[in-house]
Symmetry: D2
Subunit: 377 residues, 4 copies
Amino acid sequence: MNGTTHTGLWLIGARGSVATTTIAGAAALAAGLHNPTGMVTETAPFANAALPPLDTFVIGGHDTVPCPLPKRAETLAEAGVLPHGLPTAVRAELAAADAEIRPGGPSGPHDPRPEDEAVEALARDLTDFTRRRGLARTVVVNVASTEPAPARPLTAEDPLPASSRYAAAALRAGCPYVNFTPSTGLRHPRLAEAARTAAVPHAGQDGKTGQTLLRSVLAPMFAQRALAVRAWSGTNLLGGGDGAALADPAAAAAKNAGKARVLADTLGEAPDGEVHIDDVPALGDWKTAWDHIAFDGFLGSRMVLQTIWQGCDSALAAPLVLDLARLLARAHEAGLTGPVDGLGFYFKDPDSGPGALSDQWRALRGLADRLAPEVRA
Amino acid sequence: MNGTTHTGLWLIGARGSVATTTIAGAAALAAGLHNPTGMVTETAPFANAALPPLDTFVIGGHDTVPCPLPKRAETLAEAGVLPHGLPTAVRAELAAADAEIRPGGPSGPHDPRPEDEAVEALARDLTDFTRRRGLARTVVVNVASTEPAPARPLTAEDPLPASSRYAAAALRAGCPYVNFTPSTGLRHPRLAEAARTAAVPHAGQDGKTGQTLLRSVLAPMFAQRALAVRAWSGTNLLGGGDGAALADPAAAAAKNAGKARVLADTLGEAPDGEVHIDDVPALGDWKTAWDHIAFDGFLGSRMVLQTIWQGCDSALAAPLVLDLARLLARAHEAGLTGPVDGLGFYFKDPDSGPGALSDQWRALRGLADRLAPEVRA
Amino acid sequence: MNGTTHTGLWLIGARGSVATTTIAGAAALAAGLHNPTGMVTETAPFANAALPPLDTFVIGGHDTVPCPLPKRAETLAEAGVLPHGLPTAVRAELAAADAEIRPGGPSGPHDPRPEDEAVEALARDLTDFTRRRGLARTVVVNVASTEPAPARPLTAEDPLPASSRYAAAALRAGCPYVNFTPSTGLRHPRLAEAARTAAVPHAGQDGKTGQTLLRSVLAPMFAQRALAVRAWSGTNLLGGGDGAALADPAAAAAKNAGKARVLADTLGEAPDGEVHIDDVPALGDWKTAWDHIAFDGFLGSRMVLQTIWQGCDSALAAPLVLDLARLLARAHEAGLTGPVDGLGFYFKDPDSGPGALSDQWRALRGLADRLAPEVRA
Amino acid sequence: MNGTTHTGLWLIGARGSVATTTIAGAAALAAGLHNPTGMVTETAPFANAALPPLDTFVIGGHDTVPCPLPKRAETLAEAGVLPHGLPTAVRAELAAADAEIRPGGPSGPHDPRPEDEAVEALARDLTDFTRRRGLARTVVVNVASTEPAPARPLTAEDPLPASSRYAAAALRAGCPYVNFTPSTGLRHPRLAEAARTAAVPHAGQDGKTGQTLLRSVLAPMFAQRALAVRAWSGTNLLGGGDGAALADPAAAAAKNAGKARVLADTLGEAPDGEVHIDDVPALGDWKTAWDHIAFDGFLGSRMVLQTIWQGCDSALAAPLVLDLARLLARAHEAGLTGPVDGLGFYFKDPDSGPGALSDQWRALRGLADRLAPEVRA
C-alpha cells in the first residue's frame, strides 16, 4: 500500500451516529460485505470520474465524546441502524479510525484560547494526520450536531462558532472542506473572503436526506404543472442526538431555513405553512416526516398531497458523506478551488445552483464529466 | 370574429365530467372569471409558441348520453367539482357546445354497420363541424370512459373498438388527434401504419393526472439517489363514472399497465407491488390515491415513503386537455405530422420519450421552442 | 305555538362559524331539509328523555362582530361548510336569530366598567330575551373564539376574563350554561363556589370534535391490549378564525392541556410527544389532524399507528351544541343543578368522569335514563 | 417440578412465525428477560383469575416443515421480529419445544387416510404428549397458515379440511381448543353438534391483531357520534408466509369476511368499500394496513379519517396466544365447556358477543371474574 495514493477523511463529530455509520459502511463496502445502496458515486455516470476508491480512505476526526467507535457501533446495531454483525465484522477498521480521533478541545465562544490559536491547533491536527499517515490529501467533513442558529445575522465582529473554527482550520491546513450540517461553517462574514478565494475546493451546506429531498422533487412538479401551492406544512419526529439538538428552537431555526428555501426557490414564493421538529426519543435514529401540501387546481379546486417519510437519518446521510468525500478529493486533485459548482444535489441549502433535484442531478453529472481525466488520443 | 382564425375542439365523450369541466373552464378563462391554474401552456415558457387563445376555440363532440351540458355542469357544481355559480355564468357557452354534440351512434364491435361505414360517418361529423363553423382546423380529443382492455394483444384481424373508430375517423378527416384515455385508440395494429404516416399530428396516451404524476417525480428521485425500491404498492379510491368503469378489472388492467410502465422505465425494473382501483361512489369525482414505497438504503436499512393524493380528477384533467388542444392545433398549423415528440409530460403511457417528469418537462419546453414562429430579421 | 313551551338557546359568539352552522342547521332539521347526522340526541337511546324538539328553540346570542347571520351563512356556503342553497332556504330563521344578537359590549380585563356592572348587563340581556320571547328557559352556550390561556394559574384576585363574565351572567340570570371552548368560563377561582352550588345545571368544557375524539377511543385500545405507548405526537392544521386564534401560543396551550389529559387519564401517564396547532388559512374551516403513535408490543417490538383526520370543525361542533342545549334544557326542567354528570362524551376536558369514549357513552346513556320522565302506572 | 401442576400448549403450525414468537416469548417472560408488554392477562383485572403462570407451560405442536425452532428463531431475529440475542438466550426452551413437534402427517382432502383414522392419529399425539409429560391438561391453539376459504358454504357431506381435523382431534382428546386463524376449524357443519356439546371449552376465531382491532374501536365511535360512514376501504401489505398465503384470493376471502363483520355489526349495515391483502415480500413479517373512511357529518358535510397501522404480526399475535392458552386452561380447570363467552376481545369473528372492543373488554373482565376461585370465609 503506497501512502501517497491514499486519501484522508476527517470527520468533525467523528463519534456521532452519522460518522459511525459512515466509517462502518466504508469498511463494509470496501470488504464487499454490502452493496453500495445509497452511494450515488457508485452509479454509472461516475464511472469515469477517477474518484478515489473507498478502500483507499484513511479515516480520523475530531470529537469530544469519549465513547469509542466500536462501542458506538454496537449501540447503533442494537437500535437497528447498523446491521447486526457489522460492528464485529469491521471492528478493526472502527478501532483504527477511533485511534485517529482527536478531542478538538473546547471551542466556540466559550473556548478560553484566543480564536487564532484554537484554529491553529485544529489545523495542526489535520496536517499532522495527513503527514503521519502519508496521505495525498485529507477531506474534512462536518457531521457534528447542529449548532444553535444565531439570533441575528452574524457580523464580522462576532466570534467564530465552533463549526466556523473547524472550517477555518480546514482552509488553513489546505484541506477540502464539506459542511454537511446547517451550522455556520464557512458562512461567517469573517470567512467569506477566505471561502471565496480558497486554494481548496469546498461545499455545503446541510445534507439533504429526507423531507427536503422530497420537497425538491415535489415542488418542481407543482410548478411545472401550474398548480398553485397554498400551504406546505411539515412535522418531523426524530430521536437520537439530532432530535434533542433540534428541539432547541434556535437549532431548528437553522435547519428550517434551508427547508423553506427550496420551496421559495422552486415555487417562486414561499407558501404558507410551518415546519416543526420534535424530539421523540422513542424513535431513536429513525425519523418520520409528515408533509401536508394544500394546493389549488383548475378553477380553484382544492386538493391535498400528503407524504410520510420514515427513514434512518444516519443511513441516509452516510453514503452522501462518502460521495462528497470522494468528489471533493478528486476535485482537489483536479485543481478545483473555492465553492464547487454542481453539488446542490446533496444539500438543503447549497451555495449556488438550481433548487429542483432533477436540475441538480444534471449539474452533478456535469461535475462528474468535468472531473473525468482527459483521455489522450 | 373571423372563422378562419378559429379552432375546433371535438371531444369524444363530450358530456362526461372531464369534457364538461373542460368546456366550462375554457369559457370561464376566456371570460376572465378564473386564473388559468393548472394550465401549463399559460406559463412563461409557452408565451412565444403562438398557441391559439382559449377564446378562439369552438367546441363540439360525440356522446351517446342525452343529459345536456348545462344540466351536467349543475350536477358537477353540486358535487363540488365546478365552482358554484359557474354553470350559470357560462350557460350560453355550455349550450352552444351542447348544440354541437352528435350521438356518434352505436360503435365498437357491436355496431351493426360495417366498420368502414361507421368510421366514415364519424369523419363526416368532424368535417361537417369544421366546415359549417368555418374553422381553421379541429383537434379531436378522446376523453370518453375507459374501454375494457382486450384480454390478449390485438391482431390486425380484430375489429376496431370504439376508441379506434373515433381515432381512425380523426385521421380520415384530417384532424389532429389526442387520446387522453388508456383505451386502444390509434394503437390498434390495423391503424399502426396510418398513425405512423399520418398527415396530421397526434399524441397519446392516458392523461397523467395523479398517482402516476407523482410516481414520475418520485421514481427518478430513488434512482438518482441509488436507493433500492423493493416494493411500490398503490390503492386508488374513486367514484364517479370513472370509478365504476375501472371497477371492471379489464378496464383497470388497461389503466394499470401505464402506471407500471413509469416505474419500470425509471427504476430499471418494475418493483414488487400491486395497484388497486376501487369504485367508491361516496367519493364522487374526488380521487384518493395511497402509495406505499418500501425501499432499502445504505447497508440494507429498510425505509418507507407513503403518499396520499386527494384530487379532483376532472379538475386535474381539464386544463391538460386544453393544453393539448392548443399544442396540437399549433403543431398542425406548423406542419408537424405523426406522433408529436415532447408530449410525454402529459401522458402515463407516452408514445415515446423519457419517463421522468423533469425530462418530459424539458422535452415539452423544447416542443414549445420548435412551435415558435421564426422571427424574421 | 305557546311561548311557555319554547326554549331559548343563547350563543356567546353568535356570529361565528360554529354558531352560524348551529343556527342554520337547527332550522334545516326543523324544516326536514336534512337528516340529523351527527346529532347524538336524535338516536334511539334518547327517545324517552323528553328532550325539547329542535323546532321549539328560539335562538339569540352575544357577538361583537357586525356581519349579519344571513351574510355569514353565505360565506360559509361558499367555503363548503354549509350546503349550497341552505342559507337561502333558512334565511328567515337566520334573520330572526340575528335580530336577537346583542353586542355584549366591551368585556374582559379591558372593559372599563366595574366587573359586577358588566356581568349584570350581560345577565339583563339573558333575562330580557327569556321574558320578552316568553321562554320556559334559556340555555347559554359559549362558542366564542378561544381566549389566550393565562400565563399562570389564576387566583381569586385575578379579574374575570370575558368567558368568565358571560358564565357568571348565565348563573346570575338562572340560565343553564355550557362552555364549549377551552376558555376559563366557570373555572375561575372566584366562580368555583358559585359553580358548585349553582341552582342551574352546567357543563364543560372544550367540545371534543376531532383529534381528541379519536384519542379517546385509541388510547383505551392501547391500554386494554397492554401495548406500551412510547410517544404520541400530533399536528393540527386549521384555518378559519380558530386557526388564527390558536396560532397564539397561549390559546393553543389552553387547547392542548385538554388534549393531553385524555392520554394521561387513559394510559396511566402522559406519553412523550408534542401537539402543534398551525394556522393554515388556505384550509378555511377544514381541519387536518395528524397523529403519530409510537408503541411497543411483545418483546419490545416497535410499532406505529398514524391517523389523519380531515373534518369540518363547525360541522363537527354544531350538532354537539344542539345536543348539549337539549340536554341542559331538559336537565334544568328536571331540576338538576351544578355540574351535570355524564357529559364527558362531549368534552375534551370534562368536569368529571371517565376518559375513554366508550365509558363516556355509557355515562351519557345513563344520563338519558335519568332524564326520562317517570312513567306512572 | 410436579408434572400435575403443568399445562400443555400444543400449537398447530408450531414452526411458523407466530408459534416461534410465542414459544420464544413465553421462555423470555418466564426467565424475566422482558416485560409482558402486549399480554392482557398480566394486567390487574386478571390478578385473581388463577391463570396458570407462564413458567408452568410445556409446549409442543404439529408442523410439517422441518426447520427446527432454534433456527427459525434466528431467522426471525435477523428480520427484526425477535430481539437480537433472544434466540440464543432461550435456545434450550426452543429446542425442548422442537423435540415435541410431530409432523401431523398429510391431512386435508388430499390425505389418503380415512378421515376418522387421520383424526384419531392426531388425537393420539395430543393424548400421548399430555400423558408422557404428566400435564394437567393441554390447550390446542391453531396458528397455522390460513386455509383457502371454501368456494361455497360447506355442507355436512364435505370432507373435513385440515384445520377441522385438528379441531376434531382436540375435542376427541379432551383438549381445550382455540382457533386463532380464519380457517374452518370447528365451524364445519359436521362438527357443529360436537362443538356445541363439547366437554371442553373452546374459542375462536381469527385473532384480532391489527386493522380489525382498530376498526372495533373506530366503528363504535362513528356510531355513537351518529356520523354516517359512507365507505370504509382498506389495503393490507404484508410479507412473510401469511402474505403469500393470503395472496390466494380464496384465503383472503376467509380473512376479509371477519373484517367486514365488525363493521356491519357495529354500524348497523356494512358500508361500501373493499379490503385488499397484498403479498409484499419486502415487508417480511411487518404489516402495513391503510384504512380510508369516508363519512358524512352534520348537514351532509364530507369528512375523511385515514389510519396507517405498521405492526409486526407475530409480535401482535403471540401474546394473545399466550393469553388464550392461559384463559382456556383455567376455563377447563373451572369446568367450563363449549364456546366460552367473553373472548370476543381476541377475535375478528367471535362465536358470540358484542362487536365493539370496549364491550368485549368488559365481557373479558367478566370472564376473569367468573374464573376467579371463590374465596371461602
